[in-house]
């Protein structure tokens, strides 16, 4: 979930509300309660100085602002709340102090509409582009910073770190349209990038930014492409090289009056959402409030599309269905009011059993009636909804494998063994080298992106986990008798996903002598409990042991457990090499069986 930081005093001023300290509830608490109701979370009350101190150390924070900052957690799909402007609008409408604004896109006089021409080469790297203009805008220090911050938040979230969508904002008065969105070999691109004092080729820039704290994370998006995306104005001035950097020439400043916004993308839907969001949040600073100027995007196939769309969609929801979904019984007009509080302007339809909901371009998260039901519920207050118990009559049942596992766990503990709980993931060495095996001979599931050695594979045996537990508990008195009943994962081509779990029971005895007979006794007991008789003639019914060689076990001290003609596991005295590799000192006798045949 994204977290945004807003200055408290600015927030309170914008909310037009005095948050003074009362006797029992502080301003922070009151705001926190409002957030909770609305589905936000006041994560932290801090200052800019404190934030810099925490991230970069106290030296860096000297001179930073000590104004109180609220860090607020925003739901991942509410792009419209990712800046102070949107947050304030959402809360004011929620509190009924404001009605939702009406956003619109206007087309300027014929001939003066800004054009963005997309060349066929962009298909190779980043095929979509949208654009719009914010005319006659006035920034101040705070709104300017907020405008930059919002782009960053959008980049980090819906734009998936600029991979899906990249935003460029420019001072329109420094460049001349029409603009061209092209893709060129990096060596053919040369311009003065933002905050650089001279021109570099794209290749040089990529090199330059390979150590840049923020920008280096975006380089991979285009680095290996033969062509890089690039936007020029009529005179060949570079506006931006998406998704990496804007040009220095068209940079916006506090004095910028007309902003040209372009978004290039792999995902057109998201590009439109990003553009709409920027417009909805910041068009309030234009002379013509909540209004944006259209741009034309010309595609290689000749189609011309006007952006921003700022589309309003009408959804008709049935009152009864809405009430039933939530478990309330509110009349249509009340529901319309509840929805309007959520920026979904609604009115009762002629038929009275329906509400017509207008979904604004700021609420791209609303894609289904159920999203509208949720807003009714939030607006009504989750905690005001009447608690009911479903009438659903069902009979409970245990999963048979789990039932058997629990019954056996109980019995093994009663036999004097202590249960441990170890990880399903481990290193390749844990299941291979340390047990005298080669990883290539083991049908293990391998993880492609482990952050540490501990998560290389899913375990194929429970033994390493038990041995690690022993190693971490050397101060416990001997004998140590441990067990675990849990799943291992085995690669299996016949399984639907190519791998399956197997429920195992594993127990060990660690003492001055291995105690094979103790482990053997446990096996006998388990077989007795499972009603598997001892098979004296080693046939298809009953269980018996048969000698086997296994690299993890001491020679002549290892046996396969055969039950009803099927090898279900192995037991024996662990090999001294294994003992040493797990940093143990005492002999260990060990048993591991598959319990699934007994379900």
């Amino acid at each position: 979930m994204p977290i945004i930081g807003v200055k408290r005093d600015l927030l309170f001023k914008s909310l037009g509300q005095e948050y003074i300290h009362f006797l029992f509830s502080s301003a922070d608490d009151q705001f926190s309660d409002l957030c909770f109701e609305f589905g936000l979370e006041l994560d932290e009350v801090t200052t800019e100085k404190q934030m810099i101190t925490n991230e970069q150390g106290a030296e860096q924070s000297a001179g930073a602002s000590e104004d109180i900052v609220y860090r607020i957690e925003i739901p991942a799909n509410r792009y419209d709340l990712l800046c102070l402007e949107g947050l304030v609008l959402g809360l004011l409408v929620f509190q009924g102090k404001l009605s939702p604004p009406r956003y619109k896109a206007v087309t300027p006089e014929k001939g003066s509409v800004q054009k963005l021409i997309v060349t066929p080469a962009t298909k190779l790297i980043r095929p979509y582009a949208v654009a719009a203009v914010l005319r006659n805008i006035t920034f101040n220090q705070d709104s300017y910073k907020s405008f930059i911050d919002l782009q960053d938040k959008l980049h980090q979230n819906i734009c998936r770190k600029r991979s899906l969508v990249a935003i460029g904002t420019h001072d329109l008065d420094t460049v001349v349209g029409p603009f061209t969105y092209d893709a060129k070999p990096p060596s053919d691109i040369k311009f003065q990038a933002l905050n650089q004092d001279k021109e570099y080729t794209a290749t040089e820039l990529m090199d330059l930014y390979s150590t840049h704290a923020q920008l280096k994370q975006y380089l991979h998006i285009i680095k290996d492409s033969p062509v890089y995306p690039i936007i020029y104005d009529k005179n060949g001035v570079v506006l931006s090289m998406p998704p990496i950097i804007n040009g220095n020439h068209s940079r916006i400043t506090l004095n910028t009056r007309n902003v040209f916004i372009e978004c290039t993308a792999l995902d057109l839907t998201k590009a439109k959402i990003v553009l709409d969001t920027l417009i909805c949040m910041f068009s309030q600073y234009c002379i013509d409030k909540y209004t944006a100027e259209c741009c034309e995007v010309l595609l290689p196939d000749g189609t011309v599309t006007r952006y921003p769309e700022l589309a309003y969609r009408e959804e008709v929801v049935n009152i009864q269905k809405t009430n039933t979904y939530i478990g309330i019984s509110e009349p249509a007009d009340k529901i319309a009011k509840l929805l309007t509080k959520m920026c979904l302007k609604s009115e009762v339809a002629n038929s009275e059993d329906q509400v017509i909901v207008e979904v604004p371009p700021s609420r791209h998260d609303v894609i289904h009636a159920c999203d509208i039901y949720e807003d009714v519920a939030v607006s009504y207050g989750y905690n005001n909804i009447k608690k009911t118990i479903p009438k659903t009559a069902t009979i409970g049942a245990q999963f048979p494998l789990n039932k058997l596992s629990d019954q056996l766990r109980e019995q093994i503990a009663q036999a004097g063994f202590t249960e441990v709980l170890t990880f399903s993931l481990c290193s390749r060495d844990d299941i291979a080298t340390k047990l005298g095996r080669n990883i290539n001979d083991i049908p293990a599931v391998h993880i492609s992106n482990p952050k540490t050695l501990e998560f290389q594979v899913a375990r194929t045996t429970l033994v390493p986990g038990l041995l690690k537990t022993l190693a971490a508990n050397k101060k416990m008195p001997l004998p140590m008798k441990l067990f675990e009943v849990s799943d291992v994962v085995i690669r299996d081509e016949t399984a639907e996903v190519g791998a399956r779990n197997e429920r195992r029971g594993c127990a060990l005895n660690c003492n001055r002598t291995p105690g094979f007979e103790i482990i053997h006794g446990l096996l006998d007991r388990l077989m007795q409990l499972l009603e598997i008789p001892r098979s004296s003639n080693k046939d298809m019914t009953g269980y018996y042991l048969q000698a086997v060689d296994d690299p993890a076990y001491f020679p002549q001290r290892c046996a396969e457990v055969v039950a009803n003609g099927q090898v279900i596991g192995i037991m024996g005295v662990l090999h001294p090499d294994v003992i040493m590799k797990f940093e143990l000192t005492h002999p260990v006798a060990c048993l591991e069986i598959n319990i699934e045949p007994f379900v």
Partner: protein, 494 residues
């Protein structure tokens, strides 16, 4: 021999009614400590004798004191050694042992005097006759008449190390309730023979020490977290839920994400958050018509939805991973349910899920997810809230608060907060919601069927319950086995 002595002691007690152990020792000519030892063992045999501790003090001469009695006090000896004409001080100092003490005492008693002759000190008698009181007093004490010497004098002799005070502890013995002259050793344990012969009726039994600890029983133990899991399972079963088969850690992205209407560019599908599998890398077996419906609802919408408007790729859905939630299994269960004639259902599971997260004191790469869901016609958000109140009541939590939240596959979504009476604050304990129609309808469930569901981690409530701050103290090989041994039975409602 010691039983002989015990009986002897008992005989004395019988004859005298009461006797001091010091006297006994003298009479029997046995070391006092030995007598005391026997008395202790007699005492343990029940109310045979009464024992009362006595403390007595007496004065005894030191070796130096004894010499004084034999030869006279040091000052007497000095006085006696001085001839009538006097003697050089140095000469007398050499002639008499302990002359230094004797000289100063004789001086302070006014018996002798010192004059100087040609620079050398000469000692002479000052009085003609003296009485050696010190010796007389010590003789009196030796003759057991210490009372004739004043306490002051005794203290003075003590200071002079001629006399010492000796404290003796002894015991005054008397007849006990069960006095007998013969010793019968009290029995420590009731035996099978005693029961068979009936001899227990005649025997005395040594009382138990009830202040000591018993012997710790030989036993095994169940793991702390799994005991809590047992309780959660119990709660679901009491509420009529059926357990889902969650024994499949490896899952395809399709069931883990796509089936749940989680878009393919969702951050959770990033390698930063999810463990992807390199071997076996891809899944290939999917119900093809369902797969197509899922593709359509993501990319184009349908079932009343706008969809996400992106190009859905099967390649992305095929990627195998370690399931990030048990909801992947819920999706499979719901799909199966939709393939037959519909009947309502309640499902639950408690099993491991995996996140490629940054590890810290409260986050591990794998944890237990507790999940419950109810499938029925026209279930409401109020039903979910009511069910959650009942569920948490069984966990001993009665105050809940619900916060609107976002989750790709539930709408409405609610975070569950509970009031922790110990910590005096609201803490988040889980997530819940109504599954989106975009998830349920492509499966083929009837349109009026809703699914309400909730999930929480098993570790978090367990850590809160047992006051653990580090998850590694609860799960994994580094858990202290002693903690598992000492952990109480799990009663969540308490």
């Amino acid at each position: 021999m010691s039983s002989d002595l015990s009986e002897k002691i008992l005989e004395y007690v019988d004859q005298l009614g009461s006797v001091d152990t010091l006297d006994l020792a003298k009479h029997m000519q046995v070391d006092h400590q030995k007598v005391v030892g026997i008395v202790k063992s007699l005492q343990a045999a029940g109310d045979l004798i009464t024992v009362e501790q006595q403390v007595s003090k007496r004065w005894e001469l030191t070796d130096e004191g004894k010499t004084v009695v034999d030869k006279g006090s040091h000052e007497f000896l000095v006085y006696s050694a001085i001839p009538a004409e006097g003697i050089a001080q140095s000469a007398i100092m050499q002639a008499i042992p302990n002359a230094r003490v004797g000289f100063s005492k004789a001086m302070s008693s006014g018996w002798i005097t010192v004059t100087k002759n040609a620079g050398e000190p000469i000692v002479a008698r000052k009085v003609d006759d003296i009485k050696d009181t010190v010796r007389d007093h010590l003789q009196l004490i030796l003759a057991k008449s210490p009372d004739e010497v004043t306490d002051e004098q005794k203290q003075e002799y003590k200071k002079r190390k001629l006399l010492q005070e000796v404290v003796t502890k002894s015991f005054l013995l008397g007849k006990g309730k069960n006095f007998a002259t013969s010793v019968e050793k009290p029995e420590t344990e009731l035996t099978q023979e005693m029961i068979a012969s009936g001899s227990w009726k005649e025997k005395n039994f040594k009382p138990y020490n009830l202040d000591s600890l018993g012997i710790s029983p030989e036993r095994g133990h169940l793991h702390t977290l799994l005991k809590v899991r047992d309780q959660f399972r119990q709660i679901f079963l009491e509420m009529g839920f059926s357990e889902m088969p969650t024994n499949n850690f490896v899952e395809s992205s399709f069931w883990n994400f796509d089936a749940l209407f989680q878009p393919q560019q969702h951050p959770a599908r990033d390698a930063h958050d999810t463990f992807f599998i390199s071997e076996p890398k891809l899944s290939t077996k999917f119900p093809s018509d369902y797969l197509e419906r899922v593709r359509r609802v993501h990319s184009e919408g349908g079932y009343g939805s706008q969809g996400y408007g992106y190009e859905w790729k099967i390649k992305e859905a095929q990627k195998n991973l370690l399931r990030t939630h048990t909801t992947a299994v819920s999706a499979r269960m719901l799909y199966q349910l939709a393939q037959k004639e519909f009947h309502p259902a309640k499902y639950f599971s408690i099993d491991r899920v995996f996140r490629n997260e940054t590890l810290d004191a409260t986050h591990l790469a794998e944890f237990y997810q507790v999940e419950g869901l109810i499938v029925d016609h026209n279930l409401t958000l109020g039903d979910l809230i009511g069910t959650l109140y009942e569920f948490f009541k069984k966990l001993g939590i009665s105050q809940l608060n619900f916060k609107p939240a976002y989750n790709p596959y539930t709408e409405p979504s609610m975070e569950i907060f509970c009031y922790h009476t110990g910590l005096h604050k609201w803490i988040e304990v889980g997530n819940s919601g109504v599954f989106r129609p975009e998830m349920l309808l492509p499966m083929g469930l009837p349109e009026d069927v809703n699914v309400i569901a909730w999930g929480l981690s098993l570790e978090r409530p367990t850590m809160i319950k047992y006051g653990l701050n580090n998850i590694r103290d609860l799960v994994g090989p580094r858990v202290n086995i002693q903690m598992v041994h000492d952990n109480p039975i799990c009663r969540l409602e308490k």
